[in-house]
């Protein structure tokens, strides 16, 4: 589904990714772990098409086609979703209106008509229940005054509504208490199918107790230096990253 070859990327002249390779197949959950500043969030942004970041070398293939030249919305239309580490507050646009607009814009790009209002309503009800979201929540301004947990829940709600092929969860666990973490992880798990894939970016192993990855990658200094199964995450939690860095140096 996603294949990244020798990706180099920079932001405002700083080289962040330095030859990254990654392949994710349908149905898989991959986790990327790594210390602060290793390039985890940059990778998420580059895959999603943030123009602030410049991919200087390499390619990103999504379902076999190179998406490097596509804008963020075009990538979303193809089925890529990024759950933000810090979701943006948009005063004046309600959660409902925002998601309606997003869905209908994606449908428009696919040559479909707007989703009928009753169908939309039904879907909103169903998916908000999945995330244990209060109805009142939906008529609030997007992310404005939301707690950290509410913001993340709202991200996964949008993911549930948009049903992406590839979901990238950037530090979705940061700032969540254990109950919120469970609800969010539970939501993600329920959305898993054999046809979609998830890339979980996290600093801590905690989230991976709930969203169990097939593959764990360790990202250090813009490169993946080690990949393994879920046990690698436990090992990282216990031993930190330094032993890996030393290992690579040797």
């Amino acid at each position: 589904m996603l294949k990244i070859n020798n990706l180099h990327a920079e932001v405002t002249g700083n080289k962040i990714l330095k030859g990254l390779n990654l392949e994710i197949k349908p149905g898989e959950v991959h986790a990327i772990m790594g210390p602060n500043g290793s390039g985890k969030s940059t990778l998420a942004s580059v895959i999603a098409g943030n123009e602030e970041y410049e991919a200087t070398e390499g390619e990103i293939l999504f379902e076999k086609s190179n998406i490097s030249d596509l804008s963020a919305d075009e990538r979303a239309h193809k089925g890529i979703f990024l759950s933000f580490q810090y979701p943006v507050e948009i005063p004046g646009v309600t959660v409902t209106n925002f998601i309606k607009t997003a869905i209908n814009q994606i449908r428009k790009a696919q040559g479909l008509k707007d989703m009928p209002a009753n169908e939309m309503l039904k879907k909103i009800r169903e998916k908000s229940a999945l995330l244990h979201m209060d109805r009142k929540f939906l008529s609030r301004s997007l992310n404005e005054g939301f707690s950290g947990g509410e913001k993340k829940r709202n991200e996964i709600f949008q993911m549930a509504m948009l049903e992406p092929k590839l979901a990238i969860l950037d530090e979705t666990d940061s700032g969540l208490d254990i109950d919120a973490l469970r609800v969010v992880a539970d939501g993600v798990n329920k959305l898993r199918t054999k046809d979609n894939a998830t890339l979980v970016i996290t600093h801590y192993q905690r989230l991976l107790d709930y969203i169990v990855p097939d593959v764990v990658h360790v990202l250090v200094d813009g490169k993946i230096i080690k990949s393994g199964d879920k046990n690698l995450a436990r090992e990282l939690e216990e031993r930190g990253y330094d032993w890996l860095k030393e290992e690579t140096l040797v």
């Binding site: 804008s71 963020a72 979303a76 004046g92 646009v93 209106n97 948009l162």
Partner: protein, 437 residues
């Protein structure tokens, strides 16, 4: 001949057409003298620092238009709020157009300033109210000198006007260039309520300069809800001078929507003469090209326990320029004043400009006064966020701009106006969104 000289000599001609015995003749005379001394405002004046009238004063305006009037309702329909029942007071080139108007004397007066100024029965009212809240200011004085026609609205004690009143000024382009000076007087007596919509619209591309003065008196516990729709041709300029005097327990709100015109200057002044008064000033400005919109507001808190809320939003594209100059004056006696002022702007292009200058002059010590002003571009992070959800950049920008203007529209009480403004914003931004905010 310079416009000033032309106006001064025209005044003499004007005097010959009016009743010199009229009680306001002295007021007119004093006003023209004041204008003669002070002239048009220049950028040397603090209040005009960022707005130059030079480019609009050089036209050779006709002061008295020919009475050629072939305008029919279908020519103006789209500029009217036509989907609801309203009273309409319509002027074509400054002259009342009875065939396009729906005036009334039943329960309330929605009629003509010329009648009010000339008919004996209105004499006590004119004496009590005419030129009583308008300050000595050169453009206002110029209007006063030539004051002859406009809307006269009086809502008697305890009456709630059952439908909004529209004051519509059209110019036809029969003249190469035309200067018009409407003079409106609006009296909302104690416990009365009214909604008013005002518009100045040119029907052609000929130059028009409107120097309008509206005096409004809001009685005790009365309610005024006023909407100014400014979306004129690029050749038309408007200097709007609106002065509102409020008595205790009254509410007055003015929404100004500025979407077009060569130069638009809104002098909007509120004077609070009693306690427990609420004054609301809101505005949305969206302009492009070389258009210029200047909001110059004053709220004078003269008594304790009053509120004022100002919220102006501006979106400026291309080489357009904006000014917000908002002054809040709190007298020593006006304790417990709650005055809020906010002016937020988005500059779409590098060459767009906004000068924002909040001024607070507070002489009382127990007040809550705040002001804030922001100038920025659209938030790139927010744009990326929206794009990452599949919303293309153009639509994302539109949504952000909509959202930006949204809280100003929230307080619009006439749904048809809200709808119209929402659509207008969509049109200005160049997208059709699937929902109304």
């Amino acid at each position: 001949m310079q416009l000033k000289e032309k106006l001064l000599s025209s005044y003499m001609a004007f005097e010959e057409t009016i009743d010199l015995e009229n009680s306001i003749h002295d007021i007119r005379n004093d006003a023209i003298k004041f204008f003669e001394q002070s002239g048009f405002p220049t950028k040397k004046l603090e209040a005009w620092k960022y707005t130059s009238l030079n480019s609009i004063l050089k036209e050779d305006y006709s002061i008295f238009p020919k009475k050629e009037d072939t305008i029919e309702y279908r020519d103006i329909k789209k500029y009217c709020v036509h989907d609801i029942d309203t009273y309409q007071i319509v002027f074509i080139d400054g002259i009342f157009a009875s065939h396009l108007s729906q005036t009334t004397h039943d329960k309330l007066d929605a009629c003509l300033m010329s009648s009010a100024l000339n008919k004996p029965k209105y004499k006590p009212i004119i004496k009590k109210y005419f030129n009583k809240v308008a300050p000595k200011e050169s453009l206002t004085a110029l209007n006063t000198a030539f004051s002859y026609e406009g809307a006269y609205i009086k809502i008697p004690k305890g009456v709630a006007a059952e439908k909004p009143i529209q004051i519509l000024n059209f110019s036809t382009g029969n003249e190469h260039a035309l200067m018009i000076q409407p003079r409106n007087l609006i009296i909302v007596e104690d416990n009365a309520q009214v909604q008013i919509v005002e518009r100045h619209q040119s029907l052609t591309e000929n130059a028009v300069l409107t120097n309008s003065v509206t005096e409004i008196f809001v009685g005790k516990n009365a309610d005024l809800d006023y909407y100014k729709i400014q979306n004129d041709k690029i050749t038309s300029s408007l200097i709007d001078n609106t002065y509102i005097s409020q008595e205790r327990d009254s509410n007055a709100s003015v929404h100004t929507f500025s979407f077009g015109g060569k130069l638009t200057r809104n002098n909007l002044n509120f004077y609070q003469n009693g306690s427990n008064i609420n004054s609301t000033l809101k505005g949305v400005t969206i302009i492009e090209g070389k258009q210029h919109v200047d909001h110059n507001t004053l709220v004078h808190h003269k008594k304790p326990h009053c509120e004022s809320h100002q919220d102006y939003k501006g979106i400026f594209a291309e080489k357009s320029t904006g000014v917000f100059n908002g002054k809040v004056l709190v007298d020593k006696i006006a304790q417990k004043t709650d005055a809020y002022q906010s002016n937020n702007n988005i500059l779409i292009d590098d060459q767009a400009t906004i000068n924002s200058k909040p001024q607070l002059e507070i002489f009382a010590d127990d007040v809550k006064c705040s002001h804030g002003c922001t100038i920025g571009q659209l938030d790139e992070e927010a744009l990326f966020y929206m794009q990452s959800r599949g919303i293309p950049k153009k639509e994302a920008r539109a949504l952000l701009m909509y959202a930006f203007a949204n809280n100003v529209l929230n307080s619009v009480k006439i749904p048809e106006i809200k709808n119209r403004i929402t659509k207008q914003i969509a049109l200005k931004i160049g997208v059709e969104l699937g929902f109304d905010l």
